[in-house]
């Protein structure tokens, strides 16, 4: 007896759904384990794998975090994110606007140089930047952390690309009404560019929140660490504090996940920026 096409379809659908449920569970395991481990004493984290819930739940991992500079790390990371977003968006959108909507000498040449710079990895600039920041006294400061990052070629490129699609008529109409170019930028172009700005804001925020190498180099004292750096010190050589590490990780991941669930499209747009032919 052969299977009718409709039944075959249903079987295929069932198989696909089961498959993805299985895969989703696999992908969720690390998060689940992180959460559960944050409530386990360190000994239990490594010995007790088969039970889904902690046998002797504790909250000391969380309370012990308060004894470290964890709250300060959280604050530093937020300052980094906010500062980077505000300054970075301002600088990149202003320049992106200029490149998109004005003709000026050397415009294309300068643009090419900027795009080319994006191809070089930051690793080349790490040590010179470290020396420069140290010698000018802004190492281990928020300024030293934020300023080198705000001229972001990707940000410029993405904003410019978006603004190219804004009709010039809007600007011309405003000029007829007597607006200055700054007013055009601030009152007309910026509000319309929210999708691009939003995507870049997410991109910059994620960098501030997640990146390790840059803050690791700039921040030299524990109170100035960002979350990434701070959490990395919890697995020190002497007594790795896995419970606290899991607690800290959970607290660090939570805002990002919540933000994502609210603003999915901005996340996806920002993270895939510069992909399919710009």
């Amino acid at each position: 007896m052969s299977i009718k096409p409709k039944q075959l379809d249903r079987i295929k659908t069932a198989l696909v759904i089961v498959f993805f449920i299985f895969v989703s569970l696999l992908f969720i395991i690390p998060f689940y384990w992180m959460l559960v481990s944050s409530f386990k004493p360190t000994g239990e984290i490594f010995t007790d794998s088969l039970s889904l819930l902690p046998k002797n739940p504790i909250i000391s991992s969380y309370t012990n975090l308060l004894g470290t500079h964890f709250l300060r790390w959280y604050l530093n990371t937020m300052i980094f994110a906010v500062g980077y977003v505000i300054l970075g968006l301002f600088v990149c959108s202003l320049a992106g606007f200029a490149f998109a909507k004005y003709k000026f000498k050397f415009r294309n040449l300068i643009f090419i140089v900027i795009v080319a710079a994006q191809m070089l990895p930051i690793h080349m600039q790490l040590i010179p930047l470290f020396i420069m920041l140290t010698k000018s006294g802004i190492v281990n400061t928020y300024a030293g952390l934020i300023f080198p990052m705000i001229a972001n070629p990707l940000g410029l490129f993405f904003v410019r690309q978006y603004m190219l699609g804004i009709p010039d008529d809007l600007m011309n109409a405003a000029r007829v009404d007597g607006a200055s170019e700054w007013q055009i930028y601030y009152k007309i172009i910026l509000p319309i560019s929210k999708p691009a700005l939003g995507a870049m804001a997410i991109l910059f925020s994620l960098f501030a929140w997640n990146n390790l190498l840059w803050p690791l180099i700039v921040m030299r004292t524990e109170e100035m660490f960002t979350l990434s750096v701070g959490l990395s010190t919890l697995i020190g050589q002497y007594r790795p504090q896995y419970g606290m590490l899991m607690a800290g990780s959970t607290l660090a991941v939570l805002p990002i996940v919540l933000l994502f669930l609210k603003m999915q499209s901005y996340f996806i747009s920002g993270l895939t920026a510069g992909s399919i032919k710009g």
Partner: protein
């Protein structure tokens, strides 16, 4: 009056690009020049420096640590190429098919790991990859009949461990790239192929893959370049990057260690320079293939 400048369409663009150009020149361009300068010196700490010409470069290319690092980066890159293209691609096709209900939920779940910090990802996997029987990964493979593996301990399993983390973390991202690409393929193509008798596999290999080629190449190049920047996972999994037998030593980890543990800032700059050169060449290959590649299709 200063205010009138903002009505001058010839002057205004220069005003607008100045902040960007200022920060760009000081913090992105100048360090490159400075880096080249530093790489020609031998330094220990910030204040001692001797000019040594190209000696650092000769040293780098005969440095067994550096060469091992390049090889490790390459192994990692190849491994992620093998996992991070076929898997997301197949997922994308399956998700996109009419058989998949609730695909946005799955896409979101698979994507969330991409948002997590690599520090956190490595921290969690450090626990999951525990080499005893109680380690979660070992428990899972135990279900399929495999014995517990010494994931983070055996030199042969270090890079595979990092590849596993990378696969967890970036499948969602590549999935998004591919599903976006799939929206560009018209359903009619599949329908007419079905009518002509093509089965699922044939439709996949003769329609989907060729039409997705630009995106596949793009994702592959991102992967390629990313493979040579590997740092955080190695740093986290092995306390500053001291992997067993240097089996997971990467260029970035070596750079960091040379600069901040040994304070040889000159030599570290050289490493940075050569590393950037490798990545630049790979980026140019990307440009050539995706940008200058003229459509023959």
């Amino acid at each position: 009056m200063l205010k009138n400048l903002f009505y001058n369409k010839k002057v205004v663009p220069w005003i607008f690009i100045t902040p960007f150009l200022l920060f760009f020149t000081v913090f992105k361009v100048w360090p490159i020049v400075y880096s080249a300068y530093l790489s020609l010196h031998e330094m220990s700490g910030l204040n001692t420096s001797n000019f040594v010409g190209l000696q650092n470069y000769f040293e780098v290319f005969s440095d067994s640590d550096f060469l091992k690092a390049v090889w490790n980066n390459t192994k990692y890159m190849i491994g992620t190429m093998i996992t991070l293209i076929p898997i997301p691609l197949i997922f994308a096709v399956l998700l996109d098919s009419k058989h998949c209900k609730g695909k946005n939920i799955y896409k979101a779940i698979l994507f969330i790991p991409t948002l997590t910090s690599l520090v956190i990802a490595a921290a969690v996997f450090k626990i999951l990859l525990y080499e005893g029987e109680a380690g979660i990964i070992n428990t899972i493979i135990g279900l399929f009949g495999f014995s517990p593996q010494k994931w983070l301990i055996s030199p042969y399993l270090t890079i595979p461990s990092v590849i596993l983390i990378a696969t967890w973390r970036w499948t969602g991202m590549n999935l998004i790239y591919f599903t976006t690409g799939l929206t560009g393929i018209s359903q009619e193509l599949y329908e007419s192929a079905s009518i002509d008798g093509a089965n699922m596999l044939q439709r996949f290999f003769y329609i989907t893959v060729p039409l997705l080629k630009p995106i596949i190449i793009f994702v592959a190049t991102l992967n390629l370049i990313g493979g040579y920047k590997l740092f955080t996972e190695v740093f986290m999994l092995w306390d500053g990057g001291a992997s067993p037998g240097k089996s997971a030593l990467t260029m970035a980890v070596l750079l960091y260690r040379t600069a901040f543990s040994y304070f040889e800032l000159g030599y570290a700059s050289t490493i940075g320079f050569v590393m950037a050169l490798i990545i630049l060449i790979l980026s140019l290959i990307q440009l050539k293939i995706t940008g200058f590649f003229n459509e023959e299709e």
